[in-house]
């Protein structure tokens, strides 16, 4: 394998992280869907979500959810693409593109959650 790639999937630590993050996402996602589609018995409006989102506890949960989900998703995408893209320059390009998308998604998500006060 070493002969064909400059950028690789990162080995055992990331492999383990993908499993652990998957289990974490399973738990948080279950709570997320249950809360927003079962317990919340109204339309998903600003008024319905803003009280919860304005609390430090939910900011912490949602930001950890965001970071883990983006990493799990885009690292998973990289693992899939790695199976089909074998040229060094194409790998470097894709790796950069995926990293850029991850950074934009994280920035957008954190900017939404962190300063949110609600009520306006």
């Amino acid at each position: 394998m070493m002969h064909r790639e400059n950028v690789t999937s990162g080995g055992a630590v990331l492999w383990l992280f993908q499993r652990v993050s998957g289990v974490y996402l399973a738990i948080v996602l279950f709570a997320h869907v249950w809360l927003l589609h079962y317990l919340l018995r109204e339309d998903l409006t600003f008024a319905a979500v803003s009280d919860r989102l304005a609390t430090p506890l939910w900011k912490t949960i949602d930001i950890s959810f965001l970071v883990v989900a983006v990493f799990h998703g885009l690292y998973g995408l990289w693992i899939v693409l790695e199976d089909y893209i074998h040229w060094g320059w194409a790998r470097i390009f894709l790796y950069s593109a995926i990293s850029l998308v991850a950074l934009i998604a994280l920035a957008l998500g954190i900017l939404t959650i962190l300063p949110f006060q609600g009520g306006f």
Binding site: V33, F46, G109, F116
Partner: protein, 134 residues
Amino acid sequence: MRALQRYRIHLGTAAWILHRLSGLALILYLLTHIWVIHHLIGGRESFDATMEFFNNPLFKALEIGLVGVILYHLWNGLRVTLVDVGVMVEKQKQVFGVAVVLWLVSWGVVAYAMLTRTGGLLSTVARIGGGGLS
């Protein structure tokens, strides 16, 4: 036995392909979801106008499909993790069966909630139907 073995390989391969396809779909959803929810930054009017766009039977139905995709990826991912850490590897086939059952049951429960709750698919259809009659 040979036929059974081939069947097992087919099943595992199908599960693996579906895991990748569901994962790709979920990345697209996740990025779209982050984009949609970022309208909270614009305050009440911006967020409610955005959410109103999705407040119709088409998106409510798609949402129920999305939950099915998520739950497939979730249960199959947990199954793969069990195999990876060496738990119940000799009972892989039964574990796969349990994962499929859990997938369908959990999808059914959440789908029922999303159909029947206030603002769910059925009440959205009724609201639009009522609007057409009045």
